[in-house]
Symmetry: C2
Subunit: 412 residues, 2 copies
Amino acid sequence: MHHRTLEHLDLLCAPDPARKTFALQWSVPLGSARGGVERDGFSPLHVEMAQRGGGGRDAKEFAYALDNLGVRRSVRLGTHFLHVDVVGLPEALLPTITLCADAIREPNITSEHLKSAKLLVNQGRRSVEDDPGELARDHLRQLHAPAPFDRSDYGREEVVAAANLESMHQDWSEWSRCKGGRFVVAGDVDADRVEEHLRRECGQLEWTNRTLAPLEIGRPKKSEQKFVERPLSQVHLVWAWSAPTLHDPLRPVWQVLSRVLGASGSGRLFQDVRQRRSLCYAVGGGWAPNDDFGRFMVSAGTTPDRASETVQVVEQVINGIKDDPPSQEEIDRAKEGVLSALTLRRESTSARAGALGNHFTTFGEIWDPTKELQAIQGVNRETVLQALSDWDLGDPWAVALGPTDPFSEVAS
Amino acid sequence: MHHRTLEHLDLLCAPDPARKTFALQWSVPLGSARGGVERDGFSPLHVEMAQRGGGGRDAKEFAYALDNLGVRRSVRLGTHFLHVDVVGLPEALLPTITLCADAIREPNITSEHLKSAKLLVNQGRRSVEDDPGELARDHLRQLHAPAPFDRSDYGREEVVAAANLESMHQDWSEWSRCKGGRFVVAGDVDADRVEEHLRRECGQLEWTNRTLAPLEIGRPKKSEQKFVERPLSQVHLVWAWSAPTLHDPLRPVWQVLSRVLGASGSGRLFQDVRQRRSLCYAVGGGWAPNDDFGRFMVSAGTTPDRASETVQVVEQVINGIKDDPPSQEEIDRAKEGVLSALTLRRESTSARAGALGNHFTTFGEIWDPTKELQAIQGVNRETVLQALSDWDLGDPWAVALGPTDPFSEVAS
């Protein structure tokens, strides 16, 4: 794996000649968490417009050009970046880079496309209203995540409504031309040719010399339970407990703990909530760390008559881990699962590109899978007990969405 | 790739030593469409219980044994088969086969597990009520699919309620021990060792000599529009048009046509419904062929005020293809996309195992990717025009779920 520092962005490359495809991720520093609340709505609009191409091609010509290359692509909004993800056959890689650079250099921000983008972003916001699981997660994010990580995927309605051509052009230029972008490619690729081609394309972009300021992170929020009444058939439950960030020195231990508690196979949540008590058809959960804050997240859906029991059991499972720490056998089993999952994930070229990029942004270094495997192998009962004794989990943030309030019943 | 006929099941093997993992799919002829309506509810219960293992291990021990191997597994209900899917590292393959055989030979069908399974299947049915897209597809399936393909994933409530230990044991034995099962494995595997191991495990299973009867397929249903009133924020729309089956001689042409009309990139639905008119945040669609009947399916979600326009535009796009057939350029672009998608899909070991199994069940032969690529390359404007002239698409089956009826407005 290689890392090359270009003048304005980092190039990360994981060549694997055994593959017959490439995966590319071009991450432009235009994430939802950038800047002040006055632009909280611009990034979702950029995501829509970035799909409409640029560089002298209209939206249809741009879609045709990509389809002629046979590539599959998506544009996705993250907190730090707007990600352009593309997978395809090797011969399509260099022309794809050119098309991406065209759209970044000279995006089709026109009044027609802005109007479309506004309609679609508003449609997207409406669609969350009809998806109870998603809506519960949306409420939970607003409760627990410190600003600016509490922003919605669809931005603020008033910011979206007020966006105009001038503000959108200016916002795109201001952020996309900063130093601090990221370009990752994995699979059947030639690192030198990619670098040469990318340097040439970047040479045609106009850059500012502005460096990205670190995000200004708001104060932590207090734990809270929230019930949202809706005429649904089930009660949809989501929780977030405080947990370590990605930078925690016991990170490998937390990967193992996440599986011990987890919601599949022999994980405690799956066994106690689903298999033993049949409380939920679907229960999910695990450690969800970020650079700046960490959480242990759980979600579950159940019938109204079993909702307060579900709340009790889920909270007992999580709180109970401190008094009933995992046995050696439980730890060994979880380690086996984490090790195997790491290898399985590396089979996917695009998952590999994603992991490489995220690791670099968090740690400023090349991801070393061997080092990661060794760190997992080194987890033992002692380090697990240490992580548990350090864990100040406190009260969770929790949201219930449905016809009845399961929290009031638990309290009474 | 190899095919070996074992006494009671077919073994299909796609070794690929460049992989570091295996994917296994053991398909037991216990699908939802088997047998009469009196067992329409047994298969979903079997899916729950098959996750609880057998062969002398209790459910927890069975989950532990699989987790000790570090494998990821799921049990999934299809129309013809109950599929056990497992992915993992090569050294786990043979012990995994033994565990699967244990659960098939001597499943944990106990009163405790049956009670759990009933609760979970009912929870699953309830969860569909809160998922408008899924609920609309459920209504559509009942409208368009001939029996027994119109059965729900969760069976009939009264059959689930009435199931008892005796009927479940008898049903499991009757179907799982027929000739006609399927075992597929792909990735880093040794075909001879797998065959030897599987023969030994199958030798311990008690088989009947019954051969599977072909499914008795009901009469085709008449096209129909159905509006289901719900207090939702959006109107959720789904359509099914008659289309060829998997056995159509112009199958490669239909793969290309599906992409021309399709709902991504430069497909007509994506361009006309989403990009040009901004009617829907999400629109999906494509050719969905089966062995016994074929459909062209479309789904879309939109706001109530734009729902009748969405109905009109979607139906115009589909009906319009006959009068405005794809240009040479459109066909070439779609071919490029289909070819590239085939290669991308083969990167995933489990997708490969799935494709191998499905192809064998439909055509009774080993899947030959090279032959499939050549067939796509051979599609030309002449064959596309022929497929379109043969296509008797008629009126679609359609379902709308939401606060207002978009069909009545279209008609008026």
